[in-house]
C-alpha cells in the first residue's frame, strides 16, 4: 500500500510536466489546426540542448548556477528546430488537405529522433544528465526530490506568464484573433504568418523547460520515464501522453492543457498505486499498465465530453 499523499505528489509532478508539453500541442492546434506530432521530439531536442550546455561548462559548476544556462540552451535548440519545422515543413503545406501536414509531422518526428541518434555524440545510449544533490524534501507528508521542486515551480510560473501574455499584450490579442478567424485577423493588419511562428516558438520554449525539468528531476516518479538522463526516444511516449493531456483538457485551450496534464498525471499515479488493490484487478496494477489506464481515461473523457474538460462546444453564430 502506497501512501496517498505520495501518490498525489507523484501525479502532480508528472502532470505538471505533461501540462508544459501539452501547451505546445494546444497552442499550435488552436492557431493552425495542426497536430504537431513532432512536438515530443522538440521536447527531446530541448533536453539535448541543455545537456550540451552542461557539457560545455567547467566540471563542478554548481547545478543551481548551471540550470538557468542549461534552460536557455534547451530553449535555443528547441525553438530553432520548431521554427525551422514551421517554415520549411508545415508552411508550404498550409491549405493542403489536413492529412498532408499530419503525415509530415510524423515523418519529422522520426527524422528528428534518428538525427539525434546518429549525430549527437554517444547518443545511441542514454546520456547522463546532472542531478541535484542533497536530501529530498518532505512536503505535506510526501517525499519530493529537489529536481522535482523545480518542475513544481516552473509549471505554474510558465502558465501565469503565458496567460498574461495572451490576455494583455498586443501580440497575444493578435494570437487570439488569428486562432478564431485567420482571414479576418489579416483584415485587421495582423501578420498571421508571424503569429504562427510565435505559437510554435512558445510551444517549443515550454517543451524545453519541461525537458530540463523532467531530466533534472530524479527518478522514481514513474517507471517508464527514465529521469536523470536524456535519450533520443524520450519524446515519443511522453509526447503522446502530453498530446493526450491536451485533448483531455480541451484542445486549443491553454489552461485546459495544464489541467489535462495534471488530471492525467494524477490518474496515472493512482492507477499505478491502487488498481492492484481492487479485488480481481491485481494483474492490472503497477507501472506496466499505467499507459493503458492513461488512454482508457482519454477514451472515457472523449465519450462523455468530446470537447475535453475545458473545451467549448464551437457554437459561434454564423
Amino acid at each position: 500500500m502506497h501512501e496517498l499523499p505520495q501518490q498525489l505528489a507523484n501525479g502532480l509532478i508528472l502532470g505538471a510536466m505533461y501540462g508544459l508539453i501539452a501547451i505546445g500541442y494546444t497552442m499550435v492546434y488552436g492557431i493552425v489546426q495542426l497536430i504537431n506530432f513532432a512536438h515530443g521530439e522538440i521536447f527531446m531536442v530541448g533536453g539535448f540542448g541543455a545537456l550540451t550546455v552542461h557539457l560545455a561548462l567547467p566540471d563542478g559548476t554548481a547545478l543551481l548556477l548551471a540550470l538557468p544556462l542549461m534552460i536557455l540552451g534547451g530553449i535555443a535548440a528547441a525553438v530553432a528546430i520548431a521554427v525551422a519545422a514551421e517554415r520549411f515543413a508545415y508552411r508550404p503545406l498550409r491549405g493542403a488537405p489536413r492529412l498532408a501536414p499530419l503525415i509530415t509531422a510524423i515523418g519529422l518526428s522520426i527524422a528528428l529522433q534518428q538525427a539525434v541518434w546518429k549525430w549527437y555524440p554517444d547518443a545511441k545510449k542514454a546520456r547522463v544528465f546532472p542531478q541535484f544533490k542533497g536530501e529530498s524534501l518532505k512536503i505535506l507528508g510526501a517525499t519530493v526530490q529537489r529536481g522535482e521542486v523545480f518542475l513544481l515551480i516552473a509549471a505554474p510560473l510558465c502558465m501565469l506568464a503565458l496567460g498574461l501574455f495572451v490576455a494583455r499584450t498586443r501580440t497575444g490579442r493578435g494570437m487570439q484573433a488569428t486562432a478564431q478567424d485567420p482571414d479576418t485577423a489579416k483584415l485587421m493588419g495582423i501578420n498571421t504568418d508571424r503569429i504562427i511562428v510565435i505559437a510554435f516558438a512558445i510551444g517549443a520554449t515550454f517543451a524545453a523547460v519541461a525537458a530540463v525539468a523532467a531530466v533534472a528531476a530524479v527518478a522514481a516518479v514513474a517507471h517508464g520515464l527514465k529521469y536523470g538522463q536524456v535519450d533520443f526516444r524520450m519524446g515519443f511516449i511522453t509526447g503522446l501522453k502530453a498530446f493526450t493531456a491536451a485533448v483531455l483538457g480541451g484542445i486549443g485551450n491553454i489552461y485546459g492543457a495544464m489541467l489535462g496534464g495534471v488530471v492525467l498525471g494524477v490518474a496515472e499515479a493512482l492507477a499505478t498505486g491502487y488498481i492492484e488493490e481492487i479485488p480481481g484487478m491485481s494483474q492490472f496494477g503497477g507501472g506496466s499498465w499505467k499507459d493503458v489506464w492513461a488512454f482508457v481515461l482519454l477514451i472515457l473523457v472523449l465519450l462523455l465530453r468530446p470537447q475535453g474538460l475545458l473545451g467549448e462546444r464551437v457554437a459561434d453564430r454564423a
Binding site: G174, Q176, D181, A185, E312
Partner: protein, 238 residues
C-alpha cells in the same frame, strides 16, 4: 475628382472557376459607390480581392496612387483600406472592446484610439453597454454594428462594407443606412455591397450592377433607381 480606387480588367478565379471575369470601376474620394447584383455575382469575391485575401488572375488595382495587386492582406489596412466582411466575422470569444481594439491593431496613437472607441459607443450605444461581454453573445444585428465599428477603428480612407444590412430588422437597417450617410458626410469614402438595392442606390453616388462575374450596367444612383431593368430585377417590380 481624384480616383481613390481604380480597378481595371480584374479577373479572379477559384481554381478553374472564374468568379470575376474582367471588371473595371473607380471610386472617387468622398463618394459612396455601390455594387449590387444577384447571389453569386462576384461582389464578395471582388471585395476580398481588393483587401488581399484573394489574388487576381489578371487586372490592376490602384489605391491612393499605389498598386495593390502584390501587397499581402495584412499590409493593406495600413494603406487606408478597411473591409467589413460579409457575415460580420467578429471575433466571438473576445469582448466587444477587444474587437474594437483589434480594428486599431496597427495604430500607435493610443489616446486617439481610446477616443475612437468612445465615438463608436456613441454611434452604437449597445456596444458601449456590453463592452466587456464576449462579442459572440451579441445578436446578429448588434454584431453587424460591431463589424462596422471595428472597420472604422483603423480610420480608413476607403471603407468597404459587404452586406451591412444582412439579417437586420427594418429599424436597424435604417440605422445602418443613416450611419453610412453620416460617415460619408464626415469625409469617409465607401464601397458598399448590398442585397438591398433600393437602400444602396438611394445613398450611392455611383452604382454598378454585377451579373455572373461581369458589370452589366453602371450609372449614378438616381439613374439606376430609375432604370426599368434594375427595377424589375432588383426592386421586385414587374
Amino acid at each position: 475628382m481624384t480616383a481613390l480606387l481604380e480597378v481595371r480588367g480584374l479577373r479572379v478565379a477559384y481554381g478553374k472557376i472564374e468568379a470575376v471575369k474582367g471588371i473595371s470601376f473607380t471610386v472617387n474620394a468622398g463618394e459612396i459607390v455601390t455594387l449590387i447584383g444577384t447571389n453569386g455575382a462576384g461582389k464578395t469575391t471582388t471585395l476580398r480581392t481588393l483587401s488581399g485575401l484573394l489574388h487576381p488572375l489578371a487586372g490592376s488595382i490602384r489605391f491612393d496612387g499605389k498598386p495593390l495587386t502584390r501587397v499581402p492582406a495584412h499590409r493593406i489596412v495600413a494603406l487606408g483600406l478597411a473591409h467589413s466582411p460579409e457575415g460580420r466575422h467578429i471575433f466571438p470569444r473576445l469582448t466587444i472592446a477587444e474587437n474594437l481594439q483589434l480594428g486599431a491593431f496597427l495604430r500607435k496613437d493610443t489616446t486617439a484610439v481610446a477616443q475612437d472607441v468612445e465615438r463608436a459607443y456613441q454611434l452604437f450605444p449597445i456596444l458601449g453597454e456590453r463592452a466587456r461581454q464576449p462579442a459572440g453573445t451579441l445578436s446578429g444585428g448588434e454584431q453587424q454594428m460591431l463589424a462596422m465599428a471595428r472597420a472604422l477603428m483603423s480610420r480608413p480612407k476607403l471603407l468597404m462594407l459587404d452586406e451591412p444590412s444582412m439579417g437586420l430588422s427594418p429599424i436597424m437597417m435604417q440605422k445602418i443606412m443613416t450611419t453610412i450617410a453620416e460617415l460619408k458626410a464626415d469625409g469617409t469614402t465607401i464601397l458598399l455591397v448590398e442585397q438591398n438595392a433600393q437602400a444602396a442606390l438611394t445613398l450611392a453616388d455611383h452604382g454598378h450592377v454585377m451579373e455572373t462575374g461581369r458589370i452589366v450596367l453602371s450609372g449614378t444612383g438616381p439613374e439606376l433607381l430609375g432604370d426599368t431593368s434594375v427595377r424589375k430585377a432588383y426592386l421586385g417590380e414587374d
